[in-house]
Symmetry: C2
Subunit: 388 residues, 2 copies
């Protein structure tokens, strides 16, 4: 009868699919996320066709990603993150440069001119922190050095990727890069991250009492959620991924006295909303587009380049942590997820490439997201056994 009620059966299907997928994956000793993404692929248009991803599901997925990274931030201490600052910067930087170079070389060899090849390469660059963060969280290893390096590197990575996207986008027009505006964008993004990381903690520690002031019985939670939505919106308006803002908000909220309470209160919210992110990610896989042998060949090459770029770039830069942790960092940075999808969509809108390459890049972004979690969780389990 009412328009909004029409979505209720869809929400039910998505939610049940996520729960069943996660359950089956975990019984097969795989990470829950893999099951959720696979469930999305199953109920999505490619196979069963029960769920079309429309505006509302997109928004729920976005809120899911934001809440997930907020909860990850809540388990991350700023001081601990600063300790790994140097390694994380190296990992983030190398993890942008190498995939970009590999992508650009491949695109040039495939016949794209230099500006277009650079745009294609930009889709290889940005790690999507959500999927790795969920695996790390599920395995209870967010406080390990490797985890902190990955989270820190994901921030650096996102800033650089945004800058790079700015450069390659302006190259498509007249070929001239307007350096000054790009520098301004870069400075804004860095200032945003540094300001919040620097000032957030002392401000929040001092205002812990204020958080209890409202009459609202859920007050520390509600104010923290407002902070999360606010910083996610702010990050997004500065051109960064919204989840980076949400992660910063979580880190800032973690500095309050109520951190333990918040962490506990957030769990049910995570259980309700985060599955939407992963099922929607899976439902976006368009298997129909990947029907021919040549397409599958290209997909394999691109995915291999995307994996090797991060594995080698990030892994080598993290070697100071030891070989196994470096490998964990390399694998953890592999998923491109929704960030890759966004760049691909932009490229198609700007007519840099056509529908076929678009579908291949989307599939690459999703494949990296599906491949990384099982390997990552295996490596983490091995490492836990090793340390015992």
């Amino acid at each position: 009868m009412e328009h909004a009620t029409e979505i209720l059966p869809i929400l039910f299907i998505v939610y049940v699919a996520a729960q069943l997928g996660a359950e089956i994956a975990q019984r097969l000793r795989m990470p829950a996320v893999v099951g959720e993404i696979a469930a999305g692929c199953l109920v999505g248009p490619s196979i069963l066709g029960w769920v079309e991803v429309g505006e509302s599901l997109e928004v729920l997925a976005e809120i899911g990603a934001v809440i997930l990274l907020f909860s990850v931030g809540l388990e991350t201490r700023i001081a601990e993150l600063k300790k790994v600052g140097r390694v994380a910067t190296a990992v983030g930087t190398a993890g942008v440069i190498l995939p970009f170079v590999l992508g650009a070389v491949w695109a040039s060899l495939s016949g794209f001119n230099t500006p277009k090849a650079m745009f294609v390469a930009a889709a290889f660059v940005a790690t999507s922190a959500g999927i790795t963060a969920r695996v790390l969280q599920d395995m209870g290893v967010l406080s390990r050095t490797e985890s902190r390096v990955i989270l820190g590197a994901a921030i650096i990575d996102d800033i650089l990727a945004m800058l790079l996207l700015g450069v390659v986008t302006s190259l498509q027009g007249n070929g001239n890069v307007a350096v000054l505006p790009l520098l301004l964008v870069l400075l804004q993004a860095i200032a945003f991250v540094v300001l919040i990381a620097m000032l957030g903690a002392p401000v929040m520690r001092r205002s812990s009492l204020m958080l209890e002031a409202p009459i609202n019985p859920h007050s520390p939670l509600t104010i923290s959620l407002a902070l999360c939505l606010g910083l996610a919106a702010a990050a997004s308006s500065l051109g960064l991924a919204a989840i980076i803002g949400a992660f910063l908000a979580g880190m800032v909220a973690a500095e309050t006295q109520q951190q333990r309470t918040l962490e506990k209160q957030l769990q049910p919210i995570v259980a309700l909303i985060v599955p939407f992110f992963f099922v929607v990610t899976g439902a976006k896989v368009d298997l129909g587009r990947l029907g021919s042998v040549s397409v599958i060949g290209t997909l394999i090459v691109i995915t291999a380049l995307a994996i090797v770029g991060k594995l080698v770039g990030c892994g080598l830069s993290a070697l100071s942590l030891g070989r196994r942790p470096a490998l964990i960092v390399g694998v953890g940075m592999i998923p491109r997820g929704e960030v890759g999808i966004v760049v691909a969509s932009l490229g198609q809108q700007m007519h840099v490439f056509g529908g076929r390459l678009y579908a291949i890049i989307i599939a690459m972004a999703l494949l990296t997201s599906v491949v990384a979690p099982p390997v990552l969780s295996q490596l983490l389990a091995d490492r836990s056994a090793e340390q015992r």
Copy 2:
């Protein structure tokens, strides 16, 4: 950059507006909902224009209403509800008949022919349980007899309203009412409610252990949320309000051993999502439509009839509870909220009435929702003082 991220600033505005509105209202000794609805009105298109209610906000509001009624159901025991069955049925029935008669008389006197007058009257009928439920929940009086009568009556009311809407809708066409299909719809709805109320409790009690079976650490919660979405979707597909299904799901989940845990886990979810329902309700108020004296006059008359109809119809039927509780029941049944809005939208789509009457009925539905909470909370506070 990404489409879905565009909504983040809106979500931030809505959420902060809700928190500020609730805080101010509570400091003025008014129910929090009034502040949230007023905040919605303020940020909505009528005044500040910061927020347009699009599909995504509608869906979030719907999820908010569903979660709210689920949490109310979780605090309601089926056995307790059955105890007030007779009174609740009387209240629900009288609360449909009297407003319908008053509405039909007014519409006839305003020059509508009988079928159209009956359609207009149908918009006067259905109580929206959400707003009253929130006031009862916030004041911690959901276990009182009056509260149970209101919740039980809201179910009866919704079934009858749906039936009535079926009758008046078919009257618009050829004037013939197809009795058999309507009876079938009625039977389906009753069977749905009765089956769940009867079988839900024993099934859930027996499967309490099963709820712990999944690996998912949030398992009783996730299965309950799936039940909530499923029954909300089922109720909606049977023509009932989705929130009736959610309420039943909550009642059923309340019969499990994990009821206390679920109640606690649901609180943060309520804190995140329910405010969207109330702010969106407020943002839908179109003050610009109510500019002229004659429109305001009509609005006052219609709102008065809508209030008197429920107050007298429901209040008198609940007199066996005592005068003060009967008054509480009468006031508690006043809000028409989104149910009235849905009927009005349908009437406009079917060209039964035009834009002016549409705006007036919407305003009536919202006015009843704004007027009832402060009176209700005052009456409840007085009664608590009386009993001490």
